[in-house]
């Protein structure tokens, strides 16, 4: 769960830990019904993808406002710029992917970091195959605009 979330967070460990916590809270809420889950690993994976995707889709603007308020509220938390810089240190590619809109970023993570096919990504993210294809194409065009050599160029 943590590693899946870490990929969605492009290396942001704190964000990944928060998402992991949420996934296990959902598991705890199931109570005795956990035993009825036949494929617990598969269930956890689907819930993890869904949790990370939903967290990413939350308004970017409101996230920035809350991040600013959080900064004012809790000085111990590193500023957002520092987090972005940390991701860029991890990989130049992570820095570029972090700038993509949530849906495009989720598709790129599913296809290129999780190794899923576009059909699998569509099923897990709850989007149509056509949407996945378009989002993927847009994300690749964005990368190409930053002089990344992408397949089919």
């Amino acid at each position: 769960v943590f590693r899946t979330c870490l990929k969605f967070g492009l290396g942001d460990r704190e964000w990944a830990k928060d998402r992991t916590h949420e996934v296990f809270l959902k598991l705890a809420e199931r109570g005795a019904e956990i035993r009825k889950i036949e494929d617990l690993g598969g269930w956890l994976y689907r819930v993890s993808v869904n949790e990370c995707f939903m967290a990413m889709r939350r308004s970017r603007t409101s996230s920035r406002i809350l991040a600013f308020l959080a900064l004012a509220w809790d000085r111990s938390e590193p500023p957002p710029e520092a987090k972005v810089q940390a991701r860029r240190d991890l990989s130049a590619l992570a820095g570029v992917l972090a700038e993509l809109p949530a849906k495009q970023r989720a598709v790129m993570v599913m296809v290129h970091l999780e190794g899923k096919s576009q059909n699998e990504a569509a099923e897990l993210l709850g989007l149509s195959k056509g949407q996945i294809s378009k989002l993927h194409a847009k994300a690749m065009a964005h990368l190409a605009s930053f002089e990344w050599e992408v397949a089919g160029e």
Partner: protein, 301 residues
């Protein structure tokens, strides 16, 4: 750094999958799961802002009761607006509270019409007086409501003491908080309503306040104002008072008498107007407005 996307993506995937989830982090995660849920961060951050907004909103909604100025008079509440002309208050309907500051020089006003609640700060010098149709209200420092209609009125004292001085020479009456008084008196012996409490020990009667007389020029200005507002009853009352002013010259009184005839006619009281103008000509045979009066009288029966 390679700019080949596929190559770099594989490297990033390998790095991320190799990121360890340390035993310390695992233990921290377990502790966090077993601890009571923390309130949502956005709620924690927004709660103080919402509380401040509510307080500000309430503060705006609750308007403080206006306090009287050092030497002023406050319409503390009510549904009337006040227009001050000379020392008269014309209270007309409106939808907001009004602060009426008479300034440091003025010591008396007159209520012509309307209802207003007053809050008057105690004065160290000459007391403030409010003239109404049947007397004067001498304000000693109190809160009270005055209602003045065309021929009658009422005062309700909330707190403090006011003194009501009848203009017919009757003894003054002191009205404590909670009491009321209406004018004119229904019967001579029932001047104060039953709500009036026992009067305090009598005090030497104070001389009636000096009424400030308006000049002839101001009187005419006021007359034209009342006529333009079609307030003929008020105009007639103003002229009747003016005609009896000993400090006006004969010519001024003649002019006021003529004006009274025209106002009577404008108010629809044609017979009264005709009678008055005939009397006017008898009193002033060489009246300066004789031609005009003759023209009016020609239309009289």
């Amino acid at each position: 750094v390679s700019k080949h996307f596929d190559e770099e993506a594989r490297r990033l995937r390998t790095e991320l999958e190799a990121e360890p989830f340390t035993p310390g982090e695992l233990e921290q995660g377990w502790r966090r799961l077993s601890s009571p849920p923390r309130p949502k961060r956005w709620l924690v951050l927004l709660a103080p802002a919402i509380a401040i907004a509510v307080i500000v909103l309430l503060a705006l909604m609750i308007e403080p009761e206006p306090e009287p100025t050092a030497e002023g008079l406050v319409i503390a509440s009510g549904q009337e607006c006040v227009h001050q002309t000379d020392h008269e208050m014309l209270i007309v309907p409106c939808s907001r509270e009004v602060l009426f500051d008479v300034g440091t020089e003025a010591h008396d006003v007159k209520i012509r019409r309307g209802r207003a609640r007053f809050s008057v700060k105690k004065r160290s010098t000459e007391p403030f007086t409010i003239a109404v149709s049947h007397g004067w209200i001498v304000v000693i420092g109190t809160r009270f409501t005055v209602e003045q209609s065309r021929r009658s009125g009422k005062i309700e004292v909330e707190e403090g003491v006011v003194e009501f001085r009848w203009n017919d020479g009757s003894p003054a009456e002191r009205l404590p908080g909670g009491s009321s008084l209406e004018w004119p008196r229904a019967k001579p012996e029932q001047t104060v309503t039953p709500t009036v409490t026992a009067p305090p020990p009598p005090e030497p009667p104070a001389p009636p306040p000096k009424k400030k007389q308006i000049s002839a020029r101001d009187l005419m200005s006021r007359l034209f104002q009342l006529k333009s507002q079609r307030r003929y009853d008020d105009a007639i009352e103003l002229l009747e008072q003016g005609r009896q002013r000993a400090d006006f010259s004969e010519a001024q009184r003649e002019r006021l008498s003529f004006e009274l005839g025209t106002v009577l006619r404008q108010s629809g009281r044609t017979e009264d107007a005709c009678k008055h103008l005939r009397d006017h000509l008898r009193k002033y045979p060489s009246a300066s407005q004789k031609a005009e009066i003759d023209r009016i009288l020609a239309g009289c029966r």
